[in-house]
């Protein structure tokens, strides 16, 4: 597609439940990035992929967060055992080269 697609738009989870977010990059883009935007507008980088390979995972809280980009499937970001502080908007971006294009985000609310 011509735009980055993210599903769902909204997700509500009880503390301790699992959350799974999906991202379909723009066709032909080999890089996928995940960012977390918290209440004060701060963007935190989580992880990036080059095709199905992890490119940079320096931002991932590895104990509860995991991500995948498999061929012919949307990329996914999974949070096991969500915590209140995971409440945020999660953005996916894709790129062919240096310029990243963002999806509309998934708003996660952990109660």
């Amino acid at each position: 597609g011509e735009e980055v697609a993210q599903t769902p738009k909204h997700l509500v989870r009880g503390e301790g439940q699992k959350a799974k977010l999906y991202c379909a990059p723009i066709k032909g883009h080999s890089y996928v990035f995940w960012y977390q935007q918290v209440l004060k507008n701060e963007f935190k980088f989580l992880i990036s992929f080059q095709n199905e390979n992890v490119f940079d995972e320096t931002g991932m809280p590895k104990e509860r967060f995991s991500a995948k980009c498999l061929p012919n499937s949307p990329c996914s970001l999974e949070i096991q055992a969500t915590k209140l502080e995971d409440s945020a908007v999660y953005f996916c971006a894709s790129s062919r080269r240096e310029t990243q294009y963002f999806g509309p985000g998934t708003r996660l609310l952990v109660l």
Binding site: Y31, F33, F55, D56, F91, T99, Y101
Partner: protein, 116 residues
């Protein structure tokens, strides 16, 4: 490590007035520079970017930014703003490094509020 500083958290301005949103960055290596705009409850839209070449870059809706290497700045300007420019503006950098394309490092954002 790289960092981005947006010096103003909020900039109020009257319609048709000029505006400048300031962005400074810190990096020991070369970077690409970007401005993104975020309207309420929406994702980030690319406004303009500096990759190489001319240091003055322009967007289709009248914004411009100038890369100043000596001052490590990439300030965003518009000579005459509209109500519809009200939004949050984010400056971001990514490191130029061989072997792939890197994450964006964002500033804290500047809220531009245009008043009639």
């Amino acid at each position: 490590a790289q960092s981005v500083t947006q010096l103003d958290s909020q900039v109020p301005v009257f319609e048709e007035a000029p505006v400048e949103l300031r962005c400074n960055y810190s990096s020991s290596v070369s970077v690409y520079l970007f401005w993104y705009v975020q309207y309420p409850n929406q994702g980030l839209q690319l406004l303009l970017k500096y990759l190489s070449g001319s240091t003055l870059v322009e967007s289709i809706n009248g914004f411009e930014a100038e890369f100043n290497k000596s001052q490590t700045s990439f300030h965003l300007r518009k000579p005459s703003v509209h109500i519809s420019d009200t939004a949050e503006y984010f400056c971001a950098v990514s490191v130029r490094r061989g072997g792939g394309y890197n994450k964006l490092i964002f500033g804290a954002g500047t809220r531009l509020a245009v008043h009639p």
